[in-house]
Assembly symmetry: D3
Homo-oligomer: 256 residues x 6
């Protein structure tokens, strides 16, 4: 059930019987020469709507711009600073609690948002407002991702390429996949992203000339569909699991 | 040109030749028994994409949730608190300036956002970052709106109904238009929204039982189309005017 | 009853029987070549003290400097940034609640403060601390203002001139009224303050060379007195109305 | 020269030739059964206007409510929280710098404001915006104060009583001076306000039942006048000294 | 009992029977040519651990860097801005309350922290979270300090020198004591640190070329030990007194 | 070179020739029944001082309390909220830049601090203030850690136990190592810390009854020494590498 498409009387019954909401969050940032900048929010929205359609849980509108300053050297990358992002998401989430929501699934498709969503989730948890979890599709099916691709790439690689080929194929420049691979960093392992145990870079451009990683030529819409279906299954299970928990088990444990 | 659909190399040329961006902003909030809660962001997005398509100017993704606490008593209304909203929009806008944007049109379809966008615009202006203007479609064609409808209603009325009938007709419950009118406040003039010169209410529910105003039965898709075309013309003109200004004329005047 | 003039034992009885306070707020900013920069706070203080004298309600000291950055190009204009202004007024107001005040009338004479006072009022309302309303004298008697002057001017015009002639005539440079009119913008309608529905200026100087609007030569102390008496009547009525409300009717409505 | 009483063209010449401003700040808080709650802002305003009149330096409007939470148990005490107070004063001060002011005298008559004004002054100093100093009348003539009264009292005592008798005698309840003394704490030395080197109280009421200290019956308008003249002399000297400094000597020293 | 050295099961019993914690705070800042920059946090830690050892009360780890911007011109001075310092200490203190602590002694050895600790203490007090007091060793034995030294110096003088000679003698450059005295300001009284009642400096360097004050040659380890013992006695007494208070007497008094 | 132990003239030469500083940060939080709550800051301090001793680089005092709310259910755990922690560290770091430091190694021994230090590092990086990297000892020698222990445990496990046995053996309750293992969670893999790709816990107590993980009986001081030496080597290399970089290579890359 997509919140934005319904009138309030039709939403009223939802809140009477359910207390879970799905919130898609992504980013708008460079994804190499072959993918649209909206890649992450398109993916997040894709999964969130799918899970809502399958389960009947409520899906909110998407937060399209996230924490992406590390991609800013590439034209078009948009971002908000972390404190502004956290406060926006927190306020956004607290309003859901006003209507009775006490558990939230952040369907997130951008690594740069992860820690910030957990920090917001912790605020909500400590205050007893809601139990919010952050979910990224690739974290839910790591074996399959590894099986399907040789070089995943952490950003703009074949796994994201395949998903967009599946979800919005028109937006992929298939003719640039080789360029994407050759102009970027094919094997993240070869980059010295850490030195003596310390991460010594701040921006994507420090490791990749065109901003992306992995072997994009390995992507196909079929692989994208397979990943989408598999991860959607996981998301549906997560929603069911979360909805089935006793609220007391989700609130903070008491002092020893 | 919709930013989210393009890859960074294709956006690079835009920033080299243009310095204007269109940013759609709306809300997700109750719009009566007949309209979807996404009404305002759908309208904002509709106008912003249309103007971008006609002019070639860059349109960013939409900010879907705004300052709507005054509608919170109705199920599903989402909102962020004003400081969080302002900081999010400010940070969002400043990143555009990093790429060379120095003029922004906030295509806004929610009255509750107006003052906050102006405050953000003022921060950007005083800092010399960008010249941002706030635009609402109905403010651009007031005579036409008055001509077309007898009771506009400031929220969820026939003018918004007609626009959604035109833009996303499937989402309108046409069978509830009479209910919308009869269960709400038909004539805003009859409500004592101010007393002795002071606005004495805080929430929509204080004036309307179902959250909407005006005579919704007066709406038709044809009227919606007419309004959409007319206001789009205005928005296109605004973009052209703004793009044509000398940046020095847009920056703050110097001290007397 | 003016709070600052009384000792605490004499105020104790007020709080035992009454729960309304009047708070005057203005600005200190350029008002053209003919009016003192304190015009707005003098007017606010004038009305607030008058209403307090007539009704016995408590009037606090005046907040003399408000949100006036849009007048900063003219020498002497003072201002505080919006977040600082809102937080100051909010903290100021919450302390009144500690003593039992649960309704507040912000007697405001500066347009630039309006939205900020409403935002503060909303915070107090949502928290159930107090019901605060913003009141501007000219909004309470719009027909009379229109009747008395041909060109009101939104700032530094004949209506403010007449009021200061009445309240503090010594501070008006009557010999400069023609200069004020001729060096400023006589008819606000002729200024292109909006373009295609969008407000496209940020500072007063963008529309008026000397910072003021309207035909100041139309002002007389007699007109000022008439306006003052008429608007004071309205303010007294507002206080009575507000004091007479049941507190439950002033607190936020519950969820539908 | 009192800023609020002049029109901008008359202020323009001031800023061309001078760069010092006098800013009065006080509080609105209980001052015992005999003094008005506005005591501190009346005193601050009295000194600031006097110094401005004698020297020609610019005096701004008064900030009437300060940091007074430690008096809140007494009816009518108003206050703003320290962060809001500091930010308001800082923003207020920075605007003066926009017009060319680079040195400010905070004429303060409330002990609770002292540290906050110094913190604001430090911000302005470190940023190279302005050199602001905090001044309290009694600190400028400590020997005279000691000579004139046996028990000064740090708050609401004879020295403040005498000053208000001189500046606004109508507001003093002379018939309650004995009550003030007997119901409060006559000799601050006898109170155990510190224990083992630590200040162990937070509120005035912890040390005085009626909120005041010292022997109020020792106050007379003549003493008040004498103190006022003597301290005004000091303030005038301070302004002259400050105005005569080279700005380079007022800015932060460079690194060793 | 030093919190950092114990495992949680051993701390559990403390919180069951006691509700007082000792928190040492200092600074890391220049202390002249003869003393280490850690002087203030070494002293704070010395006293806090001693009192904890004598009484059995819990001592937390030390906050080593405080509000010291006024010493920044000298190499190595570290500092945090006041708002960050206050928020850190406040958050640090509130967590103690979660475990049952309702009274805190801030053992502070840096004058620049005093007002900030009081402000934090006030926040905790007003919220009813805890009663926190600020304690500085020299304030607890003023007569003895005056008796032992001719020229105390407010910073880096003989009293701090003697204490470090006693607590960490290896860190004192005894051979530079004369240099310290001769290159600094021997007699603070001779400096014009205030003018006409106003403090007219912001940085230590404005008054002392090498950053210190007083006659350092007057210091000996024996004097240091005597001071340390005497002030430790006071701190122990303070802890006992505070622990013995009824919590109701420590919470804010109610409204008159 | 430990900053706190030196006088400013002796530090001056450091800043003239070097621009790197080492900042130890840890936490004070439960580490099971066998380890002291200061474990993390003891470890951080141990490594930082060792590296400073070996290389001559400057080491600052330790920040002893970090982001540890997820351990709060256990007695004695201290923490500061993330925004306060970040702002404190940021302010702390910026002051170093004032003295000429443009590269910082945060020697961190608490996982809960990692993301916050990176966020602070990013702020410093984007502003061009300094290049700060976060370093954790176990991340620098992952293979060795895996080799030495069968069950590392992410918190309070054998690797932290061994290090404290080496660095501060007196503080370890060796007699409780079996209890630590049996009362906690031996094998983190067996805990369902994530569900369907989402991390579904917020507090340590959700996964371990006594707050710790791994097999503590596997720890020995000899292993601790071996790990300490190996990781210290890495830290020394990191400092050398960082010091050897051209500052231009450390500042943000320019826009594509």
């Amino acid at each position: 059930m997509y919140l934005a498409e319904h009138a309030w009387p039709d939403l009223a019954s939802y809140f009477e019987s359910k207390s879970l909401a799905i919130v898609p969050l992504g980013s708008t940032e460079q994804h190499g020469p072959h993918l649209p900048e909206g890649t992450d929010h398109l993916i997040a929205e894709g999964f969130a709507r799918e899970a809502a359609a399958r389960t009947g849980y409520l899906c909110t509108p998407t937060i399209n711009v996230g924490v992406s300053a590390h991609h800013r050297q590439f034209p078009g990358t948009m971002w908000v600073d972390p404190p502004a992002f956290r406060d926006y998401v927190e306020s956004f989430s607290r309003n859901l609690a006003y209507h009775g929501i006490d558990r939230i699934v952040y369907v997130n498709a951008h690594g740069g948002n992860v820690e910030h969503l957990r920090e917001v989730g912790r605020r909500l948890h400590e205050d007893g407002v809601a139990f919010a979890v952050e979910w990224m599709w690739n974290e839910s099916i790591p074996e399959l991702v590894d099986e399907v691709f040789e070089q995943n790439g952490p950003h703009g690689g074949p796994k994201e390429t395949a998903l967009i080929q599946h979800l919005a194929g028109d937006l992929v420049h298939d003719e640039r996949l080789e360029d994407a691979r050759d102009g970027g960093l094919r094997d993240i392992e070869t980059a010295e992203t850490t030195k003596f145990g310390s991460r010594t870079f701040y921006d994507a451009i420090d490791n990749s000339d065109n901003g992306v990683f992995g072997d994009q030529t390995d992507a196909t819409p079929q692989k994208g569909e397979r990943l989408f279906e598999a991860a959607s299954d996981q998301l549906v299970e997560l929603c069911s699991w979360l909805a089935g928990q006793d609220i007391d088990d989700l609130l903070p444990a008491s002092h020893v």
